[in-house]
């Protein structure tokens, strides 16, 4: 479960103060599928980065499964990112010099898993996204959709409970987008909590809960609906 209370993130750019997040309070139950939408610059990514422990809030409190994230050491935050959270980015964010296999393996290496365990997990993940025959391709030898599928495989290799996807289909054509969305739905069905940022209303509509953000504030929320 995720609990955000009164989260603020303020950037000082020169004289000007940018309130990227301006008092966000939000609770996401386990197994929910939440879509976040809103205009460009409204603070969606900022919120996602804070939830994903990539960034820290300036004010407010944040709990993951009852654990106060603000109190966690840098080490524990890294463990949190590694074990509980799986990221899917709009820009894929794969390491260009590593093969698909190695990219998926990387979080497992940081976890300290033994080689055999890593191998089964990597192969299982890549099979899930349908890339078992592209294991030794580098990102630049894969299409955009395939790259994003590698990123999905990497996110789910560690068996995280929370999947954060920041416009995962933003750079993809409709066919590839559909593939990725199907994968995300599968993950949801398997019991993962999904938070998805999107500009596409039809994609947002697929989620069980829609949250709209404007100027760093939540302006509408269809409410918790974990059943869908």
């Amino acid at each position: 479960m995720i609990e955000l209370k009164n989260i603020r993130k303020i950037y000082q750019v020169g004289e000007e103060e940018v309130r990227a997040l301006d008092g966000v309070t939000l609770t996401v139950e386990d197994h929910e599928f939440v879509a976040i939408y809103g205009m460009s610059g409204s603070g969606k990514s900022t919120l996602m980065n804070i939830i994903g422990c990539l960034d820290t809030a300036d004010e407010g409190s944040y709990f993951i499964d009852g654990q106060n994230v603000m109190d966690l050491s840098e080490h524990s935050l890294a463990v949190m990112r590694n074990k509980k959270i799986g990221f899917i980015f709009q820009q894929f964010n794969l390491l260009p010099k590593l093969t698909a296999y190695e990219n998926v393996e990387l979080p497992l290496i940081y976890q300290g898993l033994p080689a055999r365990e890593r191998k089964t997990r990597v192969e299982e993940s890549l099979r899930k996204v349908g890339l078992e025959n592209r294991m030794y391709h580098r990102p630049n030898q894969l299409s955009g959709g395939q790259q994003q599928r590698v990123a999905v495989a990497r996110a789910l290799a560690t068996h995280p409970s929370l999947i954060l996807a920041d416009e995962p289909t933003g750079n993809l054509d409709s066919k590839s987008s559909r593939d990725i969305m199907n994968l995300i739905h599968d993950l949801h069905k398997q019991g993962n909590t999904i938070m998805l940022i999107t500009h596409d209303h039809s994609i947002a509509a697929e989620a069980g809960r829609q949250i709209r953000i404007m100027d760093g504030k939540i302006v509408s929320d269809t409410g918790s609906n974990p059943a869908v």
């Binding site: 990539l54 080490h75 074990k83 390491l95 940081y110």
Partner: protein, 388 residues
């Protein structure tokens, strides 16, 4: 296990940019090459020179008397012989003369010696015996000859008991010396040794012109030197009519000079290692900046600060160690080539120099890698990810 992965990643990062890695290594290669090469050359050279000197008598004092107002006579040496600091004393005189045997003849150095000469200089025989005290006392016309002399005057066989004619006198050969390595000037191969008394007569020279003496150890040798100086001062009023040379002092002095020299050269070459290290730091900093996004991604999927530090440290240590090993190999190759052309000195890298250079290059990688590695590890994941 995690370390193995880090090493694998670091190595593949180094190899993924071969040209840059090589250029970075170049500083270390040149540094290690110059350090090992210079120190090895100086050390090998010193070794050869001191070896040569110690075969010439590293633990001896030699005296040569040049003044001719006064003469040092044989019996006057008795007081020196009984000196407790002097183990052995060998007086001798020498001159050049023609030596004939059968129809062979040869210009040689004739040495008039006592029996001590042979033991002090550690000479060895192939045949026969050395000169004895009796030979000197009774001026027996006997001689011991150097290996070269034996070869030239008796090319077809053993010369023992044959005679050699020197200045109209026949000397019976009683011993033949083993052949010695030719160290520049001072080899006994070309010499004929006859009893001191005979030489005094032949060369019309009663005064002793040379002394060699040895002592128990370095300290007694020092004392012997000062006793000798007192003795000679009392005998010859003029100071420049004699010269005392303490070989061990000269060798010590040379050792110090050579050590200072190799330290200095090593230091100068060490500066190039330092420059190489700065080169590594420079490239690693560039690499950190270039790979900011990569660092962000790694952190986003759960890399610890230490994972990133270790990765970059291993990279810089790997580069400098590779550079160090290449530099070392190059200097081994160069020394081998030098050995083909220079026969007087055998150049080798001593293990301590090799170890020093390698540990130095690891240290360079470590020291100059710490800052960039830490800089990379400290990046906030979000800032690193956002970096363009």
């Amino acid at each position: 296990m995690k370390l193995r992965q880090s090493i694998k990643m670091a190595i593949s990062a180094v190899f993924s940019n071969k040209m840059r890695s090589f250029l970075t290594m170049l500083g270390i290669i040149i540094g290690v090459l110059s350090v090992t090469l210079l120190i090895s050359i100086v050390q090998s050279g010193t070794g050869t020179i001191t070896d040569a000197m110690s075969t010439l008598g590293g633990d001896q004092i030699t005296v040569s008397i040049t003044g001719n107002q006064k003469r040092l006579l044989y019996y006057e040496l008795d007081s020196l012989k009984s000196n407790e600091n002097i183990t052995a004393l060998a007086p001798y005189i020498s001159g050049r003369s023609t030596a004939k045997a059968g129809n062979h003849s040869k210009e040689v150095n004739i040495y008039g010696v006592t029996k001590e000469y042979f033991s002090i200089n550690n000479l060895k025989l192939t045949n026969g015996r050395f000169l004895s005290e009796l030979d000197r006392e009774y001026s027996l016309q006997v001689c011991v000859i150097g290996a070269e002399v034996a070869k030239e005057l008796f090319p077809y066989g053993d010369g023992v008991n044959q005679t050699i004619r020197i200045q109209g006198k026949d000397f019976r050969i009683v011993g033949i010396l083993e052949e010695e390595d030719e160290y520049a000037m001072n080899s006994n191969n070309q010499r004929i040794f006859i009893p001191l008394t005979n030489a005094q007569r032949i060369f019309q020279q009663m005064g002793i012109t040379n002394l060699v003496l040895t002592s128990e150890n370095k300290t007694t040798l020092k004392r012997a030197q000062s006793d000798l100086a007192d003795f000679l001062k009392a005998k010859f009023t003029e100071k420049d009519s004699y010269t005392i040379i303490n070989m061990s002092e000269i060798m010590d002095m040379m050792g110090t000079v050579m050590n200072t020299l190799s330290l200095m050269l090593g230091g100068i070459a060490g500066i190039s290692l330092l420059v190489g290290g700065i080169g590594i730091m420079n490239i690693m900093l560039v690499s950190v900046t270039e790979r900011t996004r990569e660092i962000g991604i790694r952190k986003a999927i759960g890399a610890q600060r230490s994972d990133i530090t270790i990765q970059f440290m291993i990279e810089s240590i790997f580069i400098s160690l590779m550079g160090g090993m290449i530099g070392m190999l190059l200097s081994i190759v160069i020394l081998h080539v030098l050995n083909l052309f220079v026969t007087e000195v055998h150049f080798v890298i001593s293990p301590s120099v090799a170890l020093l250079a390698l540990s130095f290059s690891i240290a360079v990688g470590l020291i100059f890698g710490i800052y960039p590695a830490n800089k990379a590890a400290r990046l906030k994941p979000i800032n690193a990810l956002r970096y363009e």
